[in-house]
């Protein structure tokens, strides 16, 4: 599917239905200061200044807030992050960095194989669009991962957060409690009582999306090649690539509209809840790119927030 054609869909559908086609808005804040996020590679760090080269190749100089935290497999002081690390920085009030995540990756998929005795190597299938990848669980992290993934065996789901170091994906913290069912036995959504809802509640997660936007589980297979054998656990309406999705972080009280850029085939298989501030209804309703997730007030090490989605 050509990219330009997908980007034009929102404009064309708005014209046909007589809606206004507005570009994506920055995250609206119900309260608190405005959040922004940027990603890039570290060029230099000092205790007070972080210099990064952003994805457009521009140099950005960010003031490190005194309360700023950083994470790279565990909490580290921001000025100890290695040069060249790929970072996602949450900024407040313009150029003040208050949280930095370095070399982050999320490993979500169906377990294909588990090898090793001390450090475990897990082969996962991340869905038809992202393919297979190999994940290493370092010995120090096996305890906390296994306690949340009691069925570390082929056919079950795996979801962990970690870092990419020297080209190896290291799973360091569990992103969720492993669903008890096999990956191909996703529970059916509840029956349709009372028609469609304009806002759907559930769990928003983040994933390593290439484009800034969201992956949505309920797309047509003719549009995306999504495996339609899997009906998401939450009842969701059909949307398409290019649709603008309104996403609200219920806990962080922030909302924005993001374009749908990918199919959330793997998200649809998870029937878990998020307990960020309250217990969310079951089911992953949207998978956000790291930047969109951070702009909505999400913490990349937590892996989810309670969310509502709808169509603008």
């Amino acid at each position: 599917m050509p990219h330009a054609r997908v980007e034009r869909r929102h404009l064309l559908s708005a014209a046909a239905l007589g809606r206004t086609a507005q570009p994506p808005q920055p995250a609206e804040d119900d309260d608190g200061p405005a959040l922004d996020a940027l990603s890039g590679r570290i060029l230099d760090t000092t205790p007070h200044l972080l210099v990064i080269e952003d994805d457009e190749g521009q140099e950005e100089r960010l003031v490190i807030a005194p309360w700023a935290t950083a994470w790279r497999g565990g909490p580290v002081p921001p000025d100890r992050l290695p040069l060249g690390s790929r970072v996602i920085v949450r900024t407040r009030s313009g150029r003040v960095a208050d949280c930095v995540w370095a070399d982050m990756t999320r490993m979500t998929g169906t377990i294909l194989d588990v090898r090793g005795r001390r450090d475990l190597t897990v082969e996962i299938d991340s869905g038809p669009h992202r393919g297979r990848r190999s994940v290493v669980i370092p010995y120090q992290a096996t305890g906390r991962l296994l306690v949340r993934h009691p069925k570390l065996e082929p056919g079950y789901l795996f979801d962990a957060i970690g870092t990419i170091q020297d080209g190896t994906a290291l799973a360091q913290v569990p992103a969720t409690s492993q669903p008890p069912y096999r990956a191909n036995a996703t529970p059916a959504p509840p029956p349709a009582f009372g028609g469609a809802q304009s806002r759907i509640s559930g769990t928003a997660v983040w994933s390593d999306l290439d484009d800034d936007g969201a992956a949505y589980p309920m797309l047509e297979s003719s549009d995306t090649g999504c495996d339609q054998g899997v009906v998401p656990c939450a009842r969701l309406p059909y949307l398409s690539l290019g649709s603008m999705l309104f996403v609200r972080n219920v806990c962080g009280r922030r909302s924005t509209a993001v374009p749908i850029v990918a199919c959330g085939c793997m998200a649809g298989r998870f029937c878990d809840r998020c307990v960020d501030c309250d217990t969310s209804p079951r089911g992953r309703i949207v998978e956000l790119s790291p930047l969109s997730y951070v702009r909505l007030g999400g913490d990349l090490t937590k892996g989810c927030f309670n969310a509502q989605v709808g169509l603008r």
């Binding site: 034009r8 559908s13 046909a16 007589g18 349709a192 003719s222 549009d223 899997v230 009906v231 398409s240």
Partner: protein, 275 residues
């Protein structure tokens, strides 16, 4: 009386065996997509995962074989095997209820996904009794034709009422009919919307400005399916077809390369339309 009871039971047993076999075939055949229905249906859950589909198919084929043996070949052994089939089914459901209280009986495939209860077990016990009556009276097709009477019809009506009362599938079907998914969540093939678009007034109005009859792009958003056709002068003609009803609402806009609509919105709905 036994013969009358058996004559009434035979067509019902045959019908149920055929319905059960067909439903199981569909459920087993529909399992390729990824949502593993068989992992929630008995008795497939009692066998290892790789044999589940085969177990479901074997069960369906067995039911067809029993029907063929009773009706076509008129074999006594087929009638005895039918008794054995329902007796074993009763035990298996009883065991399933104890071992896997979360799974459905799978008697009629995916429709029987309600967890096995006493009603399902009682229904199989009633069917066993009916099969015993057929086997004891040794009733075949010829006896069935000869034995048609009002008494036999009353027996058959009684059997049907009892079986319907013991069938959780009836409630499941009613619930599915009552809570039909709204159009936003229903899969609809794109070809249907395209056919309805080409039968609409909006299509006839704009057909002259289209450079091709094949859409450049098509996508779905909630209850609307959109088709974009190349128009004259590099413009895009976008049609939005609502996905409910046989004569759905169709909206159209002509959009230039700069993204601005070239003409006012036109709707296909004639003034006399009720919608």
């Amino acid at each position: 009386m036994l013969v009358t009871a058996a004559v009434a039971a035979l067509p019902i047993l045959t019908l149920l065996l055929i319905m059960g076999g067909v439903a199981k075939l569909f459920t087993a055949g529909d399992d390729g997509g990824g949502q593993d229905t068989l992992s929630r249906l008995g008795p497939a859950v009692l066998v290892p995962e790789r044999f589940r589909k085969a177990a479901m198919l074997a069960c369906a084929v067995g039911e067809f074989a029993l029907v063929a043996g009773q009706l076509a070949a008129d074999l006594v052994v087929a009638r005895l095997l039918t008794v054995a089939f329902f007796a074993i089914s009763t035990y298996v459901l009883w065991d399933l209820r104890r071992r896997r209280p979360d799974v459905g009986c799978g008697c009629f495939g995916e429709v029987s996904s309600t967890p096995v209860g006493l009603r399902s077990v009682a229904r199989t016990a009633v069917l066993t009794g009916m099969a015993v009556a057929v086997a004891a009276a040794d009733v075949g097709v010829a006896d069935l034709v000869a034995g048609v009477s009002w008494t036999a019809a009353a027996w058959a009506a009684g059997y049907l009422a009892l079986l319907l009362a013991l069938s959780p599938e009836v409630e499941e079907i009613m619930s599915r009919l009552r809570h039909r998914a709204p159009c936003e969540e229903r899969p609809v093939p794109p070809g249907r919307a395209l056919a309805r678009l080409k039968a609409s007034a909006a299509w006839r109005t704009h057909a002259a400005v289209l450079e091709s009859g094949e859409p450049d792009d098509s996508w779905r958003e909630l209850c609307w399916r959109f088709f974009v056709f190349p128009g004259q002068g590099g413009a895009d003609v976008v049609f939005a077809v609502h996905m409910s009803g046989r004569r759905p609402t169709v909206r159209v806009a002509v959009v230039g390369q700069d993204g601005n609509p070239i003409e006012p919105l036109a709707e296909s709905i004639p003034v006399s339309a009720t919608r």
